[in-house]
Symmetry: C2
Subunit: 545 residues, 2 copies
Amino acid sequence: MSSASWEDLAADKRARLEKSIPDEWKIKAVPTEGSVIDLPEKSGVLSPSEIKITNSSATELVAQLANGTLKSVDVTLAFCKRAALAHQLVKCAHDFFPELALAQAKELDTYFETHKKPVGPLHGLPISLKDQLRVKGTETCMAYISWLGKRDTSDSILTALLRKAGAVFLVKTSVPQTLMVCETVNNIIGRTSNPRNLSLSCGGSSGGEGAMIAMRGGAIGIGTDIGGSIRVPAAFNSLYGIRPSHGRLPYGGMTNSMEGQETIHSVVGPIAHSAQDVKLFLQSVLMEEPWKYDSKVIPLPWREAEENAAQAKIAEKGLNLAFYDFDGVVRPHPPITRGVEIVRSTLEKNGHTVAPWTPYKHAFAVDLANKIYAADGSTDVYKHINASGEPAIPNIKDLMNPNLPKADLNEAWDAQLQKWNYQCEYLDKWREWEERTGKELDAIIAPVAATAAVRHNQFRYYGYATVFNVLDYTSVAIPVTYADKAVDRKLADYQPVSDMDKAVYAEYDPEVYHGAPVAVQIIGRRLSEERTLAIAEYIGKLLGH
Amino acid sequence: MSSASWEDLAADKRARLEKSIPDEWKIKAVPTEGSVIDLPEKSGVLSPSEIKITNSSATELVAQLANGTLKSVDVTLAFCKRAALAHQLVKCAHDFFPELALAQAKELDTYFETHKKPVGPLHGLPISLKDQLRVKGTETCMAYISWLGKRDTSDSILTALLRKAGAVFLVKTSVPQTLMVCETVNNIIGRTSNPRNLSLSCGGSSGGEGAMIAMRGGAIGIGTDIGGSIRVPAAFNSLYGIRPSHGRLPYGGMTNSMEGQETIHSVVGPIAHSAQDVKLFLQSVLMEEPWKYDSKVIPLPWREAEENAAQAKIAEKGLNLAFYDFDGVVRPHPPITRGVEIVRSTLEKNGHTVAPWTPYKHAFAVDLANKIYAADGSTDVYKHINASGEPAIPNIKDLMNPNLPKADLNEAWDAQLQKWNYQCEYLDKWREWEERTGKELDAIIAPVAATAAVRHNQFRYYGYATVFNVLDYTSVAIPVTYADKAVDRKLADYQPVSDMDKAVYAEYDPEVYHGAPVAVQIIGRRLSEERTLAIAEYIGKLLGH
């Protein structure tokens, strides 16, 4: 290790990041409050055609790149500029490498000119990556100061396969120290804010990704989710995000907190502006047969039959859905309850069945997840924090405590057994619902978090998201609406069921949260990506997205 | 617990087992050496039609049961008699319950008479179960004296689904104390012997199952495999046995050693007289959609397209296979080397390509498996052993040592990470083979064990089997030939590469092993059951089975 102080190392990293942004892409005055989401278009840095490119969907872009209407160099340059603006406005990047991106784009354009065809389904598309994915030649620090200064000598498996499919990489986005927080703050770049309201959080741990994609600094972003870390940033930024089940996409060769912890697997997945773009990503990766590279990936190509089965039900207005707006542990804020109701009533108006779901032992599942996340007494994360002398961020103090006891191996095995039993019991509930109604249950609609995009330092309860990590169910976060002080009134007589419930409910303030994005998640059983995404896409369409 | 001594409890269990066999099914003189495999047919207990029934394949039986040619009561009675004979001859049962079986069979016959159709694809078929599966109303002791005397109040998930498919349960078969041994011996029933030679082992841990199916005491048997426990008994008894990849068949609700240990998963699978019967079992279970009951099961129905792809290659003589007969750690005995060569040359004669495979770091994989199996310092298994005061069997002394240190949780996580990395490296080798040859690698042919059916107390090295548990590859054990003192000569100049190698090689004695079953395993990548089984079936046909 260098003998420099952690402050010096962090300052050096910031300076290098600053230097990676060309002067002509710099913004003079960076606002400190309100929304910055429209500023890139007003900045003068982007040409009208670059604005048009970056406002296009990934699906539109790959079509135009594949037929030669667009060149990757032009698309990449446009996204590089916008990513640079995004970082200046909300501090969402850890590493920015426009030269590498443009070099990649140029190679792809040359390939296209020579062969008159794209290299793959993502030919020339700029993709933004959470700072856990390795890209040869770039820096992965995962928010640990002790990791700074090392360049990756190889790609992660997912990065390599995306590269084969034609993707271009331009930026690595910010994460919270330890990754185990649903906000994004660390000792290197500080805090990543919500582009729609700088007083609110972008979510976490894929918070840099949520902010970057909201600002359209990448056509699609890649996050990871061990307790809500894809869905929460998607929800807080009015985006689509999928938590695929473990084993669908390759995690091999990525960095992680608590590597080797396999009781609750972290999974990798895309964050995007539409369900269609999410599908483009999944299909493109699966076409590369990731199971031939990463042993944890199941040999399961994209199943059109599964997607078609969902489409058929949609066409005949025969979806059978369940919903809940309270998990029995923490009451969601009024905007969230309204969000679930909007989705429920919209589906019902369109002829589908939506019946109440009784959350089964969610408190137990969240307690179990807490135990599992802290099973090693935070040995792993504190090792990486302490290696540089940097302090722990305040947000992890409740979750990651260096004085926690480490679980004995037989206790850890017992937790695994408890998880399996719980998963099987949840399957029983799912089957009982089907036996009782005589119909297949297609999905469950539920809050992603108890709050709309949360005020900084106020994220307390990840139970709504985490229960589906424990269950390993497929879940797609979809944007629904925005908090509205005119209608989202606090229940005057609300009686909290616990201290956590009390604290979360007390945080709600219609003025503060006005305009904050509100989302729900659409949940299917394990490895139901095709069906669940088709339903999520349909709901999005009904909601006018 | 009762205050009775462990000896009394074991004696009581033996007495109950003895009592479960009707007097008219008893054998007067039980041989103490040689082969007993033909004795059931000569015993006079079975009628000619019962001999015919029990000598039929499961596939033939379900066809006749489904068209009404056979009644389940007759089939079940025939198998009950033969199972009773098998237990008397080689001591392979832990619980025998002909009354329950016949009651189940009667119900199925009544159903058939009323509805003129079978309840499911296994209608009326008697199945034998390793003593880890729960059957309502029967006893599961898993060879621990401390567990004796408790009746199960519910079925395991697999048992329940087989019951739905029409299977009849008649017997629970013997296992070694702890399950972690490739022979079958415990303090309750003593030792289970090989029906073809009582001086040889039936293998383990599904050894009772191997012996029972070899004796045709069940039409299909169910075993489990964490380090070879299906394949070794199949190999030692000239049977087919599949180790499906984890997540293909439901393990939920079964008992196990070291429950909650998920670094190397134990898997459940069938042992049978043919690949066709193995396929019947897999297809029947998958038709019941086990993933709706057990969260660990992947929603992957039987993939005919995969099977057809293999059949097409077989038809055009285009299989591309690899083989090895030495893993670099322990040299197999001459009959095994010859077994691999028989398979290799037969395939080559039939127009297929069979090239040498270089085993990749098998010693590392076996060491890693050893660490994982002993990770809890044997806390779990010794708890169950010590609860009754029974002694540990000699065979576990090397493997299970109560003085071993327990792994720290971070060490256990590191082992999981090492396993994943190793698995990915093995995939690299598989892909590199394909890139080098320009052809898909369809399967690897390898020994199951270093020895033919081993002499009692001489099983030392499970590496040939275990490496594929570490990799979680699909593997099918198939019978090839028998050891032959006339041709299987010891290499006079063999130089051992390690102490283990030396000890294993020294054990070979052409006279002792003459006639012992010799098998190989056919290995496919993870979750390749359809392809690998199709190839195994084809090889079996070429070998004249």
